[in-house]
């Protein structure tokens, strides 16, 4: 059997929160054996049941039931009441994620509406300054500058509907040290 490679990114709040993990994965149908390798780790499991919407996986002698659903390049999992989303990402994304921290994308943290745009392109901001305010389900959320920065681009005006993860502004870091 040849191994396959799968690049997974754990998704939290609609945003890929870690570096994508490059997973090497081998499945031997005959004895249900699975191995997963990432970074320097290798772990063995068995896939006992793989039925519609549900997996039963065995690791270290104990079976665990995992509910799943796949939509396009996203997989949603639930086990023990805890829920996860993993996205399959392109090879290029692995590199992109390792880019410098010279910029920050301000993304919509939820599907909703922009209720306030607090800055203009070219403005210089201090860390913690509000960039925009987004509202959904009667709750407002302020999006703040993660470091001292200059507003490079701004996309979206007050009253505009925005989707989860949509980039609303791009900030360029201002070196203060």
């Amino acid at each position: 059997m040849s191994k396959k490679t799968l690049r997974l990114a754990r998704v939290k709040s609609g945003i890929h929160d870690d570096l994508p993990t490059e997973l090497r994965f081998e499945s031997l149908v005959a004895d249900h054996a699975l191995t997963v390798e990432w970074n320097d780790l290798e772990q063995s499991l068995e896939k006992l049941v793989d039925s519609a919407g549900e997996l039963l996986l065995r690791k270290d002698g104990r079976s665990t039931r995992v509910f799943w659903h796949r939509l396009g390049s996203s997989v949603y999992l639930a086990t023990g009441g805890r829920h996860y989303r993993f996205d399959r990402v392109e090879a290029s994304a692995v590199e992109a994620a390792v880019n410098d921290a010279s910029h920050a994308d301000i993304k919509a943290p939820m599907t909703g509406k922009i209720v306030k745009v607090a800055v203009s392109v070219g403005d210089t901001l201090k860390e913690g300054d509000t960039v925009l305010i987004v509202e959904a389900m009667k709750m407002e959320h302020e999006l703040k500058a993660p470091f001292d920065a200059v507003v490079e681009t701004l996309d979206g005006e007050e009253g505009a509907q925005v989707d989860l993860g949509q980039i609303l502004a791009r900030l360029a870091r201002v070196q203060t040290d």
């Binding site: 191994k3 799968l6 997996l55 949603y76 959320h141």
Partner: protein, 508 residues
């Protein structure tokens, strides 16, 4: 006056509309649903006998529109309206509009609802009924606020008189903070409730939120069905509720029920209501407010007392008085409810509207799932993000807690982020297991380092994700065209080139 109710319009949506419809169906009463354009496919519409669209998605153009709802009731020939909770449930104008239209409003009459809707008036009414309120003062002028605080004793709490749900409450810890904080509090109150009147109350800490379920006949008689504890809150939003309270003994229960009944009877209150109290560290209880509706957390009372509160509401609305079964009801065991919100605990509990792609619901002894979704669906941006409640009953508190945890293990809400894992974390917490908490505990736990740490094995999750991505086409799930094809899944990353590369295995 006795009257038979044959058809009820449910002026609500989501899980509570579905729950009310179940009782109506069981009673043989025809069910009319109303829905906004965003809810045309919602479960609460699908379980009804008739349904009417009442406008676009925004609540103030649909579920908050008194005219449209009254018109829907007229058009369908409904003889009564159940308001659920939220929306128009505590709006006295709606009660008046129902009366004018000759419709039975399933709830209290206009006057007590109006009186109790304002915190300052409610305090006075409670005091007149002999109920202890939190030491405080109502309608204090700006210049007198600092002195009022000193008189009551700091810390104090400023509350919008017209408010509810904890919105706009501001803590003041010393006299010199009062000016700035009170100005902020008035601004918030004005913006939120169009009324900047404040009340000043002593901040009772540590305190627990205990509420008494009452049921009145509208003639001055009433019964109490014990308490619920709802101390586990986040930003004044209840997260986990239970019945009975682990800290209320028979003596405290008797005192609290007596207070609640005194208030309820003084108002000649009709139907279900909830009197909320703060329980202080010495077992003393202070009146907070009275909610004139069915409460979100009513199932824990239903399971422990063995009653159907919606059926009882209808019996009272039909003029049959308080059902004997309610008078005879005795508590048994313990029930715990956890509210499932479409929100992301790891991102500051931001709402997470969106599609729900698949739902797996738990089953088994003592489990109840009251949800707005039982299969795939949509959580919209326009409404409250609570999508379901999971409730467990057990012979004792720890059985109920363990049952609820077991049930969460069998729950999956896939495609959307919810607080399910957070609820599991709280239910597993030893402080919850030992009932060691007060109303500000949960916020403290959330702030702890590592509170959201994930006990699940990374290798297991990676393997599951890999299996799901590698899965071949199978019979598709419920209610869609089923394909029996055993061909390779065209979407499978294992069967095509592109971003996927086959690496050489060890054996090669």
């Amino acid at each position: 006056m006795r009257r038979r109710i044959n058809k009820v319009l449910i002026a609500n949506r989501g899980e509570i509309a579905v729950r009310i419809a179940r009782t109506l169906r069981e009673l043989g009463i025809a069910i009319v649903a109303v829905y906004s354009e965003a809810d045309a496919e919602a479960l609460h519409r699908r379980v009804a006998d008739e349904s009417r669209c009442i406008g676009p998605a925004p609540a103030n153009e649909s579920y908050l529109s008194i005219d449209k709802i009254i018109e829907a009731a007229r058009a369908t020939g409904a003889d009564a309206i159940h308001p659920g909770y939220g929306f128009l449930a505590e709006n006295p104008k709606f009660v008046g509009a129902c009366e004018e239209a000759g419709l039975v409003f399933i709830g209290p009459s206009q006057a007590p609802m109006f009186e109790l809707g304002d915190k300052a008036r409610a305090r006075k009414i409670a005091e007149a009924a002999g109920v202890l309120t939190v030491p405080g003062l109502a309608e204090v002028a700006d210049d007198d606020l600092a002195a009022a605080g000193t008189k009551i004793g700091y810390p104090v709490l400023l509350k919008p008189s017209a408010g509810g749900g904890g919105k706009g409450m501001v803590e003041v810890h010393a006299a010199d903070e009062m000016k700035e904080k009170s100005q902020a509090a008035r601004r918030i109150a004005k913006a939120a409730f169009d009324n900047d009147t404040l009340i000043v109350e002593k901040l009772v800490r540590p305190a627990r939120h205990i509420e008494i379920q009452v049921f009145g006949d509208g003639q001055g008689d009433a019964v109490a069905l014990g308490e619920r504890e709802c101390s586990l809150q986040r930003r004044h939003q209840k997260v986990i509720e239970e019945c009975p309270s682990p800290v209320v003994d028979e003596a405290i229960r008797e005192r609290m029920e007596a207070s609640a009944l005194s208030l309820t009877k003084s108002l000649k209150y009709a139907g279900a209501g909830t009197v909320e109290f703060l329980l202080g560290p010495k077992g003393e209880h202070y009146f907070l407010e009275m909610n004139t509706r069915l409460q979100v957390e009513h199932p824990v009372t239903e399971m422990v007392y063995g009653v159907d509160l919606v059926a009882a509401q209808i019996a009272v609305a039909e003029g049959n008085g308080i059902p004997q079964s309610l008078r005879d009801a005795k508590p048994r065991g313990h029930a715990i409810e956890a509210r499932i919100y479409a929100e992301d605990p790891e991102a500051g509990f931001l709402p997470t509207p969106g599609p729900v792609l698949a739902v797996h619901r738990p089953e088994g002894p003592g489990i109840r799932y009251d949800g707005a979704l039982e299969g795939e669906g949509e959580v919209g941006v326009d409404y409250d993000p609570m999508i379901a409640k999971l409730i467990a009953w057990g012979p004792d508190r720890d059985s109920a807690r363990r049952r609820l945890l077991r049930a969460f293990g069998d729950l999956a809400l896939l495609g959307i982020t919810t607080n399910s894992g957070f609820l599991v974390r709280v239910l597993e917490d030893e402080r919850f297991a030992k009932a060691k908490f007060a109303i500000d505990s949960l916020e403290g736990w959330i702030a702890e380092d590592g509170f959201f740490d994930d006990p699940n094995d990374k290798a297991l999750l990676y393997a599951a994700a890999a299996c799901a991505f590698g899965k071949r086409a199978t019979r598709s799930g419920e209610g869609s065209e089923a394909s029996m094809s055993a061909d390779a899944d065209v979407y499978s990353p294992f069967d095509r080139e592109g971003p996927w590369r086959a690496l050489q295995g060890k054996a090669d």
